[in-house]
Symmetry: C2
Subunit: 349 residues, 2 copies
């Protein structure tokens, strides 16, 4: 089943490393050439991820090399066109989410295990290049846009009744933490879990989030200052598992871990973190990069989240105000996950 | 059962950070005051561990603060005196090994699980301080010596027929690698195992060890130069598990790991290693500090080693030549683990 294409793809594009400071431009763009397993999605919501800003600031490559660069890998919207070989049971009208990966080879050992994120040919949802069908060679465009086109296999249905605005941050931030908590036995083998961000034990800058952390069910709070080493004194060797949702140096946070404890780094940072062999060895500590596997985990996460009514707290911003939203994000004003809203596509502010 | 003490404790002592370059002095010393669960051991062999040299060079504290500093935590010898409360079934004449830890509280959650290495009150075999009985406050002296006195619970019987010279390096180097290989599923969940040092896949400087690695059963060899990043090209994403037995930077070795692979750091280094968040996260990699738990693992290791006739290749040095052995070690002349031999105590060169 397919429908015609009476709509224009438009996105908020960067052309230079400074544009994220308030100079993204809305422009029309050509979507990838159509393949019969593609879908078109009318984007209602897209979360802002810290890695978007890293990419937009040129931390990994000059933005000009991928211009027009349209970021966003936490997009949620309504399917408005499906190809004859559509997957995931999608139909026109299905609400779907797309995360950081939009394609893979479908054949390698990782794809077979639904760990597409490790496929050598995986395609990132923006600033990637498709290796497939009619769209081969196309530079991917993400969710800071009106529409998205890509392989239906990587568009995951959002459960009925789950707020699609809340589903947006689940596509990257949510799945990453869900994957880490489950993989490392939170609540099962790891009883004392800390999250740098908000968690059972919340570890956060200053006192600002203490009350909110409690509302979210967090039973302990460790307020840290710029001097993390001093801030964690008295809490050493108390946690089995720490999930770190900030991208800076985490060296001093390792002290919070019990022997044989696990530190999960969930946020991309741009500077290497100096790790002492000695503290690693004498504590028998584990440091691990958090990365959700792929398909199977999305389904499990949404099943779990829908069943237990778990959803993120978010700050909604009109996507038209993206040139205010991104500077607010980089100034640390994002109290919760920021979600861009396309009201004309059915998104609610 | 006890015997009289017609012997003098002598050890090769350092007083300053430079003494390891060839100026250790043989001197008599008072052993810890006797406790009834102690044993006296006539030392036959003691391995030289890289961390001995770190300590002797003042990397962790000025040597003068612990002078006379007598290193060595891979000691093997014959029990020549036991107290009335001796443990581990030791008797006069038992051949025992002592590793890096010589006491612990015996009560905390880690001690109860025989993970004494994580006990907050653990006592290192040298440069530590006993917290117990008559010996409380005594600064520990290690195996570069004629005799050792300490808690019998931390002196492990060596299996009958196992060469006690080969048992010496098993007390630290051996147990560390055994523990890591077992814990991380070598041969079970981790099929492709690399060891920086010598292993199934051997990763070593230059070509010098290629033939020996093959003799030791290693099926692959990756020769690395100072430019590790270039050396590992073509071998990226091939190994499930890498055990690193050198103490330098391992950043470039991480590229050898398959997605979700595990890198075990087994050797203490003195400089922090810069770890990229990005490579950690995009590979879903795990970095973990290797540290053997304690008692139970020693028993399992020696059972396994004796059953399968697994023993290290070693270079024997007369302990009297320690002032030549240590400079040879620091000059990279240690082809295999260096073991100091006390011929007058029954050790064989």
């Amino acid at each position: 089943m397919s429908s015609d294409s009476q709509y224009t793809f438009q996105g908020w594009a960067a052309r230079d490393n400074d544009d994220y400071k308030g100079s993204l431009k809305l422009q029309s763009f050509d979507p990838k050439p159509w393949d019969e397993d593609d879908v078109d999605v009318r984007i209602m919501y897209c979360g802002i991820c810290g890695s978007d800003v890293h990419v937009l600031s040129g931390a990994f490559f000059p933005v000009s090399a991928m211009a027009p660069l349209i970021c966003g890998h936490e997009l949620v919207g309504e399917v408005i066109r499906v190809g004859s070989q559509v997957e995931n049971g999608l139909e026109v009208g299905t609400i779907v989410g797309v995360g950081a990966v939009s394609n893979s080879c479908r054949e390698c050992e990782y794809c077979v295990e639904e760990c597409e994120v490790f496929c050598k040919k995986r395609t990132t949802t923006y600033a990637g290049v498709f290796h497939r069908g009619n769209g081969a060679g196309y530079k991917t465009k993400g969710g800071y846009a009106s529409h998205w086109r890509g392989p239906s296999a990587f568009a995951y249905p959002i459960p009925a009744g789950y707020d699609p605005a809340c589903a947006a941050p689940m596509m990257c931030a949510g799945i990453t933490v869900f994957s880490a908590l489950r993989r490392f036995g939170a609540g099962v083998t790891a009883k004392q879990v800390g999250v740098i961000g908000i968690g059972v034990t919340t570890i956060s800058r200053g006192e600002a989030k203490r009350q909110e952390a409690a509302k979210l069910g967090s039973s302990n709070y460790i307020a840290v200052s710029d001097d993390v080493a001093t801030s964690v004194k008295g809490c050493e060797r108390t946690l089995d598992l720490v999930i770190c949702c900030t991208g800076g140096s985490y060296t001093d946070y390792l002290k919070l871990l019990k022997p044989r404890g696990t530190f999960v780094q969930a946020a991309i940072g741009t500077s290497p973190v100096p790790i002492s062999n000695i503290s690693l060895i004498t504590g028998g500590l584990t440091i691990v990069g958090a990365l959700a596997d792929g398909k199977a985990e999305y389904k499990d996460m949404f099943d779990f989240a829908a069943k237990h009514n778990i959803k993120p707290w978010i700050n909604r911003w009109d996507m038209k105000d993206i040139n205010k939203a991104l500077p607010a994000f980089t100034n640390g004003e994002a109290k919760y996950r920021m979600v861009l809203v396309n009201t004309e596509n059915g998104g609610s502010l």
